[in-house]
């Protein structure tokens, strides 16, 4: 036992001498001190602890040897410390770089979804969820898309083996159906989540994608409320100068329906158009506070430049390709048939619904050029947005 201990004492001594060579910085010396004299795991302390295991007769001699070692270590370290402090060109470099700790991050799609949710939560909406494998009835029929209707062609659908009545939901709208069936108006929800369409993946299509939809049903809800809400959302999300353009559109579950474009946040509208847009339809303006029935006329802030490039847009803009406008969402007044199917009387209530694709936002707002990149989960992409 004692022989083994003596050997280890010698080894410890040698290794300290070795490690002290070239050790100059206070940090290194402090680390050495901890390694040798640390109270619990210092090499000397461990040796001291092992004295207990020595036979009683050997213990004094062994104890002396370890104590000598301890004195030697203390002296050697103190001397090194003195040398270090006295050294004429004392080397300390506070500008040494910080260590790089590993960093993870949120997936871009999740981050966008969270931001959109945050805005609607602040506008007083509740988040509703529903299953991804959905009843065909909720995904289509209750949304006024009857079986054999050509509108079903636009949403190529995945079906499940052995579950004839189920589909992978093609949009998050069935969440709204479920919510309407279970709750009485007023309703104010958003329904974020995954949706699926049988599209081969390419730059602008993905068989799996994400949507956020909003639904508001109450007495006296009108089209202008939809626009005001979208203005509030888009100005929070895309920038305070954004103006909207509504174009007639078609969705089986809304009537009237509108495709919504926003002015390009990079190049359009030109300075000055904001005041115009605000006066036309300020969501916070005094006219919004009272529930003025109708007659809020306004001209489109950007003019009815529905097809051609908006004057003032940058023809070389990489975001809008020079048109000045970005297609970002679909919306409309909830179709009375949908309300009826969901147990709500359309004579008493009306509502609006809007929906946007999160992948589309990733492309438009964050410049991701190809949807497939979002599902490859390459850290070179994800790390840019985490």
């Amino acid at each position: 036992m004692i022989d083994e201990l003596t050997k280890e004492i010698e080894e410890t001594r040698r290794s300290l001498v070795h490690e002290l060579e070239g050790a100059q910085s206070p940090e290194t010396l402090a680390a050495l001190k901890e390694r040798y004299l640390g109270r619990k795991k210092g090499r000397v302390s461990l040796l001291l602890a092992r004295l207990r295991d020595c036979a009683a007769a050997e213990r004094p001699r062994a104890g002396q040897a370890v104590n000598e070692l301890k004195a030697f270590v203390e002296e050697a370290l103190a001397a090194a410390q003195d040398r270090s402090a006295a050294a004429p060109g004392e080397w300390r470099d506070p500008s040494l770089p910080p260590s790089r700790l590993p960093a993870g991050g949120e997936h871009l799609i999740a981050a966008i979804q969270r931001r959109i949710e945050d805005i609607f939560l602040q506008l007083g909406y509740e988040i509703a969820r529903g299953p991804e494998v959905e009843l065909e009835d909720y995904n289509f029929t209750k949304l006024n898309i009857p079986a054999h209707h050509p509108a079903r062609d636009e949403q190529d659908t995945f079906f499940l083996e052995g579950h004839d009545e189920m589909v992978l939901r093609t949009h998050t709208s069935p969440i709204q159906v479920r919510y309407m069936l279970e709750h009485k108006p007023p309703l104010k929800i958003i329904s974020p989540g995954k949706a699926f369409r049988k599209d081969d993946p390419d730059a602008t299509h993905s068989p799996c994608f994400h949507q956020v939809e909003a639904l508001l049903v109450d007495r006296g809800v009108r089209f202008s409320h939809l626009k005001g809400t979208l203005e509030a959302f888009c100005r929070s999300f895309y920038g305070p100068d954004i103006v909207l353009r509504f174009r007639p559109g078609y969705f089986p579950f809304t009537e009237p329906s509108a495709e919504v474009d926003i002015s390009c946040f990079l190049c359009f509208p030109p300075a000055g158009s904001r005041a115009h847009g605000q006066s036309a339809s300020s969501p916070a303006g005094p006219e919004a506070a009272g529930s003025r029935a109708h007659g809020q006329s306004s001209s489109s802030p950007a003019g009815p430049a529905a097809a051609g490039a908006a004057s003032g847009a940058d023809p070389s803009c990489r975001v809008c390709k020079g048109s000045g406008w970005l297609e970002i969402l679909g919306s409309g007044m909830v179709h009375p048939q949908v309300l009826r199917y969901c147990g709500i009387d359309p004579e008493e209530y009306s509502g609006f619904a809007l929906g946007m694709g999160i992948e589309r936002v990733a492309m438009v707002k964050y410049g991701v050029p190809d949807l497939r990149l979002l599902y490859e989960n390459d850290l070179r992409l994800l790390g840019q947005f985490g």
Partner: protein, 678 residues
């Protein structure tokens, strides 16, 4: 839908240059997909919507333009002079079921000489993407492109029995189509037949036998209106999609058959260079169709939209669109024109009014609806904290498809029958995933191959199962770690990931969420035997963690060990309960270390179980301070150091009491587990 702008302007003299025209159409809801220049003429490829079959013709677009601008007028071809003749005899049209065929108008024209169409007709068809064939076939296409009504023209001499019948196919009947495909038919297919055999797939495609050939002399021209669903199902079942079926499945105008027939005669007369009079004509219209009248309160358009819409303006717009209005005091009774098969309710009329007046009249205002539920979502902030913790620990979030290959499902559930897609995009995406981990391992391999040394990932998503015929989806959190935990630098030592790191992270996550996690040795096909733990959350199993099994890491060609966990997210998001104040123990604690050798065959969990059984009342806590297997430790043994903290609730323990309790406790531990005290 391709629209030749020159041709369009024959029916509405709008004088707009192309850009302005596109703007006007976009304002009406007709986006331009593409602008083509064909033979010096502008062709717009318009994006139409499934609810507006009337847009699928030059007439339809001309009507829209005329409605938008009160100064313009829609001027269709003048067909007044075309004489269809009186219903004749010697030939007959039979509709077996009026539900399948709403109307069937037809006529026979004799003594034609098949020739090329006039150059301007050929040029027009080419500009619209159609191939000119001969004047007879071209006329049927031109009529369809002009007014939207699909026609079919038969070679009369191939028709037997002096009749056409609109009937369902009998099982086993077959037909060779114009594109020379042979199709087998059943009762779901609607046919045009003669007295003996099928001639054509009604509303979809003609048959080869009865088609126009250069030798054709006499023709039978069909102008009909079929049921949309029958046409759609028939076309789908055969994988066919033609210009005719596309229109019929959207619903055609039953009133359009006769004008289309007249137009065909007029155009055919032009190419044949002589007046034509049918030798036979019949209009089979068993149940005349009428559109429902819609009641529209006069203030409703403004009420639903919030737009300023004077009543007179609303009425004028509807009238320009061809709706007939009867004033009923507070409301109008509105009769849609026959071609507006989409107009069914008052909201449809509001869209018409708003659309034609222009959506740019719409202002924005905030709804005053308060959040009626006022139920605060507690899970969401917990989810955010969970994600923040994971990302701070260096996990990157990923999102994968919900479907994967059956082989991947088998890695997690070798015996499970997978929930399979009927129509997957391919074998690799053919089953709904039963675990998120295969996706993470796939992502791990891809990133490791890119040269990333550290790949720590997490995903939140659903795992699916078929439980007794019911589809069950559960939200899960999955984590994986592969490679280097910490890259060495001037002040930090490099470290590889190991299972203890992953368990440490899970424990930290649990502490943050105020949950009690426990790891129990278990077995799961995804994890290596002996390095697999069931994770219990508040005593209930909520998932698994461990070192990834050879089967799974080999499947994804991972060369180094991977560590992973998959947990039920709802269990993590459930509120772990609120803390309550507890007075802390004011008496001093005493620590005693215990270093011993334990046989390698034993596990730390066994030791912990024994501590749980034997712990003295004064033992407050313990921690593992060292594990050592180097020099001085005999083979087959591992050296452990535990530090025990003793404290009594009501008094200060004496050193002797602590020593005594410690000695007795560690003695019993050692005896039970065969530990060798050092």
């Amino acid at each position: 839908m391709k629209i030749n702008v020159e041709y369009l302007k024959r029916f509405v003299a709008c004088g707009l240059e192309d850009g302005r025209l596109r703007e006007l159409l976009a304002g009406l809801g007709l986006g331009t997909e593409e602008v083509l220049q064909v033979g010096g003429e502008t062709v717009l490829d318009l994006e139409t919507t499934p609810n507006r079959p009337d847009w699928l013709s030059h007439y339809g677009i001309a009507r829209e333009i005329a409605a938008k601008d009160p100064r313009l007028r829609f001027v269709p071809m003048d067909l007044a002079a075309v004489d269809l003749g009186a219903p004749g005899s010697g030939f007959a049209i039979h509709i077996e079921d009026p539900a399948d065929c709403l109307r069937y108008s037809g006529c026979i024209v004799r003594d034609l000489a098949v020739r090329e169409s006039p150059p301007e007709v050929q040029k027009l068809l080419v500009s619209l993407g159609l191939r000119p064939i001969n004047d007879i076939v071209d006329v049927s296409n031109l009529v369809m492109m002009t007014c939207g009504q699909p026609l079919h023209i038969f070679d009369l001499e191939t028709l037997r029995g002096g009749q056409v019948r609109v009937r369902r196919a009998r099982p086993g009947e077959a037909l060779r189509l114009l594109d020379e495909r042979d199709v087998k038919l059943d009762n779901g297919h609607l046919l045009i037949a003669d007295g003996e055999r099928p001639l054509a797939l009604a509303g979809i495609m003609g048959g080869l036998d009865s088609g126009i050939t250069p030798a054709t002399r006499h023709v039978f021209i069909e102008s009909a209106c079929f049921d949309p669903v029958v046409i759609r199902l028939g076309a789908r079942s055969l994988g066919l999609k033609t210009d005719a079926s596309y229109r019929f499945e959207r619903g055609m105008d039953a009133e359009a058959t006769l004008p289309a027939l007249r137009m065909a005669l007029l155009l055919l007369a032009r190419s044949q260079g002589r007046a034509l009079k049918p030798s036979f004509f019949q209009d089979a219209y068993p149940r005349p169709q009428s559109r429902p009248v819609i009641r529209l309160e006069k203030d409703f358009p403004a009420r639903l939209t919030g737009m300023a819409i004077p009543e007179a303006e609303a009425a004028a717009v509807l009238q320009r669109l061809g709706f007939r209005l009867r004033d009923d005091g507070a409301a109008w009774q509105v009769a849609p024109p026959s071609h507006r098969v989409d107009a069914e309710c008052r909201e449809d009329l509001v869209e018409e009014i708003a659309r034609v007046l222009g959506y740019d009249r719409l202002g924005g205002e905030m709804p005053l609806t308060a959040n009626p539920v006022l139920r605060v979502d507690e899970a969401r902030p917990r989810l955010q904290r969970l994600k923040a913790r994971l990302t701070a620990a260096g996990f990157q979030e990923v999102i994968n498809y919900v479907f994967q290959s059956p082989e991947e499902n088998r890695l997690a559930g070798p015996e499970e029958r997978p929930l399979a897609l009927k129509n997957p995009l391919g074998r690799d995406f053919s089953v709904m995933k039963n675990s998120l981990l295969s996706g993470l391992l796939r992502n791990t391999a891809a990133n490791a191959n890119q040269g990333f040394e550290r790949v720590a990932l997490f995903e939140i998503g659903n795992a699916f199962a078929d439980e007794d015929g019911r589809v069950v989806e559960r939200r899960r959190l999955a984590l994986s770690a592969y490679g280097q935990e910490q890259r060495p630098d001037w002040r930090l030592a490099g470290r590889e990931f190991d299972l203890a790191w992953l368990k440490t992270e899970l424990a930290a996550l649990a502490r943050l969420l105020r949950l009690e996690l426990a790891f129990r040795a278990a077995a799961h096909p995804l994890f290596r035997p002996g390095a697999c733990f069931r994770v219990d959350c508040g005593q209930r199993p909520c998932g698994w963690c461990g070192e990834v099994a050879e089967a799974a890491s080999g499947f994804h060609k991972l060369e180094r060990p991977a560590f992973a966990a998959e947990l039920d997210l709802e269990a993590l998001l459930a509120n772990g309960g609120e803390p309550r104040f507890q007075a802390w123990n004011r008496f001093p604690a005493a620590r005693r270390d215990f270093t011993f050798l334990m046989a390698r065959a034993r596990t730390f969990q066994e030791l912990e179980d024994a501590i749980g059984r034997l712990r003295p009342a004064a033992l407050e806590s313990y921690e593992l301070t060292d594990v050592y297997q180097g020099t001085g430790v005999p083979a087959g043994q591992v050296s452990f150091s535990l530090s025990f903290t003793y404290r009594a609730a009501e008094r200060t323990l004496t050193g002797e009491e602590v020593n005594e309790a410690h000695r007795e406790f560690t003695g019993r531990l050692a005896a039970q587990l065969g530990l060798i005290q050092r």
